[in-house]
């Protein structure tokens, strides 16, 4: 009785206020996982898609929206039902061999992704006049400091604010005066660019899929939901959170593509977003050019920071779950040293590698996309099997038949893309 009365309650005056507040207290993991997926690699890929093919690939994003939502909804449901992370569930239900195999895959692809995040920070800050030798270590220390306060709530609030900063993408896209009717047309009606089905186009579409749905997202959201201790009654809010996150993330991705399409329309060649930002500063009128230059570079840093904290946490949570260590942002570093050490190790090692001179970063970026695209379908298969585990979840939480139809279709599509990717790696001129 005394336990119940000591629980802090937030009083409200109207039922609708309770509904809104119930959503707000559960809100966070869905938005964060989706928006953190618009990381540095995603910025580069979407802008490259816009730069090479204009608005022709906007429809791909629309197709990816339901895929993102349905996959992440399963993860949120599993997290709420079990209160445990994804790695822990694979370990417990499929055994040590599969658990370690999945963990190794996750850690490897996550680490490669982290290198790309720091590469983006280095590139963007150099564009703003800060040398990498300063910007990269400072960013790494700040990213470790972000989680080291022993408060999940603090971390979540800061990261949600960083996610909302991505609203600036809509301003940058609008300032470039895109053709909105053409954008709407290409969003709703799939079209193939006039260049036809070239190897580059196939690879770019696979890269867009690979960057929009990444394996770390499964692990991250489930652990995050468990960390937040979402209750059974919060499932509907977690679903809404995930849906809002998915829609927001796809809209932001569209804004990135619109920004890249400016280069396509004005014949501005670029190899990375920082170079495009530089071109915009010279091509546009002074004030808007400077604003867009700074905004794009800072948004690149923001994307990399979001990606780094989410991906490093996904690794640290997963490793802690499998190793049986304390693995919680509610714990102080002294109470969960292994968990914080893994996070810090991921961040500092990736930052250190970026500072190595003459590192082939483009090769690392491509490797990440290929590797992530390869392991994603198998990660979703485990998720699908877990969501059909009636012995564990009972009738209430397992997938309904329509869930299974949708999800197996998603697995089939992703496998087809994965095989296409494999074929292109083995026979590089397949679609030439």
């Amino acid at each position: 009785m005394s336990t119940v009365t000591s629980i802090p309650k937030i009083r409200v005056n109207r039922p609708w206020q309770r509904t809104v507040l119930s959503f707000l207290v559960a809100f966070g993991p869905g938005l964060i996982v989706m928006e953190a997926d618009n990381d540095a690699g995603a910025v580069s890929t979407y802008m490259q898609a816009g730069g090479q093919y204009g608005l022709h690939l906007l429809w791909v994003l629309v197709l990816l929206l339901p895929i993102c939502y349905f996959v992440q909804e399963m993860v949120a449901r599993l997290g709420i039902a079990t209160g445990k992370g994804h790695a822990a569930m694979i370990y417990e239900r499929f055994g040590k061999a599969w658990g370690r195999f999945s963990l190794f895959d996750l850690l490897a692809v996550n680490f490669l992704t982290l290198i790309t995040e720091f590469a983006a920070i280095s590139l963007a800050m150099r564009g703003l006049g800060v040398a990498p030798i300063l910007s990269v270590p400072i960013a790494a220390v700040a990213l470790v400091g972000l989680i080291a306060t022993g408060s999940y709530r603090r971390w979540e609030r800061i990261v949600v604010i960083l996610c909302l900063l991505d609203l600036t993408w809509f301003i940058t896209a609008a300032l470039l005066h895109p053709s909105w009717s053409a954008a709407l047309h290409n969003t709703l009606i799939p079209s193939i660019p006039s260049t036809g089905k070239t190897g580059d186009l196939v690879f770019l579409i696979i890269a867009i899929v690979g960057t929009t749905i990444a394996p770390w997202q499964l692990f991250f959201q489930q652990s995050c939901v468990a960390e937040k201790r979402l209750r059974f009654a919060d499932l509907k809010w977690a679903r809404l959170d995930t849906l809002i996150g998915a829609v927001f993330s796809i809209l932001v991705a569209g804004a990135m593509m619109l920004t890249g399409a400016f280069a396509y329309n004005h014949h501005l060649p670029f190899t990375d977003p920082a170079q495009l930002a530089q071109s915009l500063a010279t091509v546009l009128p002074h004030r808007s050019g400077i604003f867009l230059h700074h905004a794009l570079l800072l948004l690149m840093v923001n994307a990399a920071v979001l990606g780094t904290t989410a991906i490093s946490l996904a690794s640290a949570w997963a490793y802690g779950e499998v190793a049986g260590w304390q693995h919680s942002l509610h714990k102080k570093p002294t109470e969960a040293p292994g968990f914080y050490a893994i996070y810090a190790l991921c961040v500092f090692a990736a930052a250190g590698i970026v500072l190595v001179p003459h590192l082939p970063l483009q090769l690392v970026i491509v490797s990440v996309q290929v590797f992530a695209g390869l392991i994603l379908p198998s990660a979703i298969i485990f998720l699908q099997l877990l969501l059909n585990d009636r012995a564990l979840l009972g009738d209430r939480w397992v997938n309904r038949p329509w869930n299974n139809w949708i999800n197996w279709s998603i697995v089939a599509i992703l496998f087809a893309l994965s095989l296409l990717l494999a074929a292109q790696i083995l026979v590089p001129n397949l679609f030439a």
């Binding site: 336990t3 119940v4 629980i7 802090p8 309650k9 937030i10 009083r11 409200v12 005056n13 109207r14 039922p15 206020q17 309770r18 507040l21 119930s22 207290v25 559960a26 039902a81 079990t82 209160g83 445990k84 569930m89 417990e92 239900r93 499929f94 055994g95 599969w98 195999f101 895959d105 999940y152 709530r153 937040k228 201790r229 979402l230 209750r231 059974f232 919060d234 509610h330 082939p360 090769l363 490797s367 290929v370 590797f371 390869l374 392991i375 198998s378 298969i381 099997l385 877990l386 585990d389 012995a391 564990l392 979840l393 009972g394 939480w397 494999a422 790696i425 083995l426």
Partner: protein, 76 residues
């Protein structure tokens, strides 16, 4: 004679508890369940998947090593 018309919901229900402040729920647990029962077909599919992943990882590593010029020339 009460003249109260609102709220329609009893006042004690009008509060929200943050999930982190709430009492812990009894979650679904795998304790005592052991490993998931897999049919031979699923087991075969998973094993095939593992072989495919290992093989593809090696192919990708080879391709990356080639692109990074880490392999001797005669291997190309």
């Amino acid at each position: 004679m009460s003249t109260i018309t609102t709220p329609t919901v009893p006042n004690e229900d009008l509060y929200v508890i943050h999930p982190l402040d709430d009492v812990h729920e009894q979650k679904c647990t795998s304790e005592g369940l052991g490993l998931m029962h897999l049919t031979p077909t699923v087991r075969f599919a998973l094993t095939t998947l593992r072989v495919y992943l290992i093989a593809m990882t090696l192919v990708i590593l080879y391709r990356i090593a080639t692109l990074a010029h880490l392999l001797p020339e005669h291997v190309h």
